[in-house]
């Protein structure tokens, strides 16, 4: 579904991605692991097209997207949940939820979203940023679930959240997988990623350095610990 090859990216003058290669098949949940500054978020942003300069190849369902602006990339069926969540302060919860336009059929229904995140339904009229951190994260995920996007790019959805909310987000990602959606997940929280993902890519210094399928994780634990420095 997604084939990234030789992807390079820059922030201004600094060269941050040095040829990233990865693939995600339809229906998979794949994580990007790595230390801070390894280039995980940058990879997500480069796939979404929100970086000023990038080169290489990003193919989505056969379409080359490297020269497309982000709005066109989104319309192909890719949705992004940024690390800082990106809840709009000048919009209500409801406006935030309905902001991303529906780009295709098969989005998660509102009933289902409210069932997964009952808190949101109660607070539809509140200002977006008046929600707690956990609720904002739920809102950030919920609003891209209803668009019908086929591939969700989730950047550190558990960062700074309480365990009970992390569980709730874990259940959501599982529900997305059951619904046939594809997820590329950036995570620092390896224990969380471990329970969800089919495969794990490991990044270091702007490159993919390893790929470990979930089934071989136990056998490769030492190697992974060395990468992540835990």
């Amino acid at each position: 579904m997604l084939q990234v090859s030789g992807l390079e990216a820059w922030y201004g003058e600094s060269h941050v991605l040095h040829g990233v290669d990865l693939e995600v098949a339809e229906g998979e949940v794949v994580t990007l692991l790595g230390r801070n500054g390894a280039g995980k978020s940058t990879t997500i942003k480069a796939i979404m097209g929100v970086l000023e300069s990038r080169k290489g190849s990003v193919r989505f369902q056969g379409t080359e997207t490297i020269t497309l602006p982000p709005n066109r990339i989104a319309r192909l069926g890719i949705a992004w949940c940024p690390e800082e969540r990106g809840i709009f302060a000048s919009l209500t919860v409801k406006e935030n939820l309905f902001l991303p336009p529906v780009i295709g059929p098969g989005g998660v229904t509102l009933d289902r979203i409210y069932a997964l995140f009952p808190n949101l339904k109660e607070r539809l009229g509140s200002q977006g940023t008046k929600l707690s951190g956990g609720e904002q994260q739920m809102l950030a995920i919920a609003r891209i679930m209803r668009t019908g996007a086929k591939l969700l790019l989730l950047d550190e959805p558990t960062e700074g959240l309480a365990p009970v909310i992390i569980q709730q987000i874990g259940r959501t990602i599982r529900a997305l997988k059951e619904a046939g959606l594809t997820v590329l997940l950036v995570e620092q929280n390896f224990r969380f990623a471990q329970k969800l993902a089919d495969r794990h890519y490991v990044m270091e210094d702007g490159r993919i350095v390893d790929m470990i399928p979930a089934g071989r994780l136990e056998a490769n634990m030492d190697r992974l610990h060395a990468y992540l420095g835990v």
């Binding site: 982000p70 709005n71 991303p100």
Partner: protein, 294 residues
């Protein structure tokens, strides 16, 4: 009538007349605020675009026989379209640079537009009659008689300003605009064509200025400097209201018009400067403006 009424009456009269100027301040500063919020560009050409609106109304009347009501619709469309062309061909190239470049570009444009109009039409001004429909007895407000056309200016500006406010704050399209002001990149990553929204926003802001220009044509003579006279005060209004605040720019526009009116009662010499005195005080006490967010 009581003594108190005697004191109060001129106050009310001048305040009400001040609302007429306030109507122009409000429409113009609203357009500036919308453009600044979305494009991060201080549109120094706003006064020139206001003046163009008045001139286009004059041209429509004298060259095409299209009267006031037609001009009220057509002039904003024509000048707004010119704004779209300016945004696409020039301003859009500056978004990645500092604010200052947008300001310099639009300032240059204002000088070019004003110079061209002065060359073509002279600086003495052209007459534009009050439309037929308003050549009626003045409106009796109880404490004063207000010319019907000036009354109309106040009413129509209120409708336009609060209509625009409603469209931005309460509609779906407005939610795109507010979101794009906060995080343009994320909104674009949701599949919305943000560059197109910016073009449309600039066009709409310019069209508002031209609309005000048509409204002004029968009151002030149509001349190349009419925008420059207004825009300095309007910039002060925007600073007082808070850069980018929609409601702030509207409310501040009317209030300052009224304050100017009051000043005319007590100390007429200061009425032209009172806005700048208030601006200085607001900048000292609340640098983000009365309605601005830090």
């Amino acid at each position: 009538m009581s003594e108190l009424w005697y004191e109060l009456e001129p106050f009310l009269q001048q305040g009400t007349l001040g609302l007429v100027n306030g109507a122009f301040y409000a429409i113009l500063s609203l357009g500036l605020a919308v453009i600044f919020g979305m494009l991060n560009v201080v549109n120094f050409a706003h006064g020139a675009q206001f003046m163009l609106g008045a001139f286009v109304a004059w041209m429509l009347l004298n060259w095409a026989g299209i009267g006031y009501w037609g001009a009220l619709v057509l002039a904003p469309l024509i000048v707004g379209l010119l704004g779209v062309v300016i945004e696409r061909t020039m301003i859009a190239r500056l978004y990645k640079l500092d604010h200052l470049y947008g300001l310099l570009l639009t300032f240059g444009l204002a000088l070019i537009i004003e110079g061209t109009m002065r060359n073509a039409f002279g600086s003495s001004g052209l007459p534009y009659q009050v439309p037929e429909a308003f050549r009626i007895p003045p409106v009796d407000l109880g404490y004063m008689l207000m010319p019907a056309y000036r009354f109309w200016i106040v009413i129509v500006s209120l409708v336009v300003c609060f209509g625009t406010w409603y469209a931005i704050e309460k509609t779906k399209l407005g939610s795109y605009l507010r979101a794009a002001v906060e995080r343009p990149q994320l909104v674009q990553a949701f599949g919305i064509n943000v560059p197109l929204m910016m073009t449309a926003t600039y066009g709409a802001g310019v069209a508002l200025a031209a609309f005000a220009g048509v409204l002004a044509a029968p009151v002030y003579s149509v001349n190349p400097a009419m925008g420059a006279n207004f825009i300095i005060i309007v910039f002060a209004v925007v600073v007082i209201g808070g850069m980018g605040s929609i409601l702030g720019s509207i409310v501040t526009g009317y209030i300052l018009g009224v304050i100017e009116g009051f000043t005319r009662v007590y100390y007429p010499e200061a009425s032209a400067t009172v806005v700048f005195v208030i601006m200085a005080i607001v900048l000292l006490v609340r640098p983000t403006g009365l309605f601005g967010r830090a």
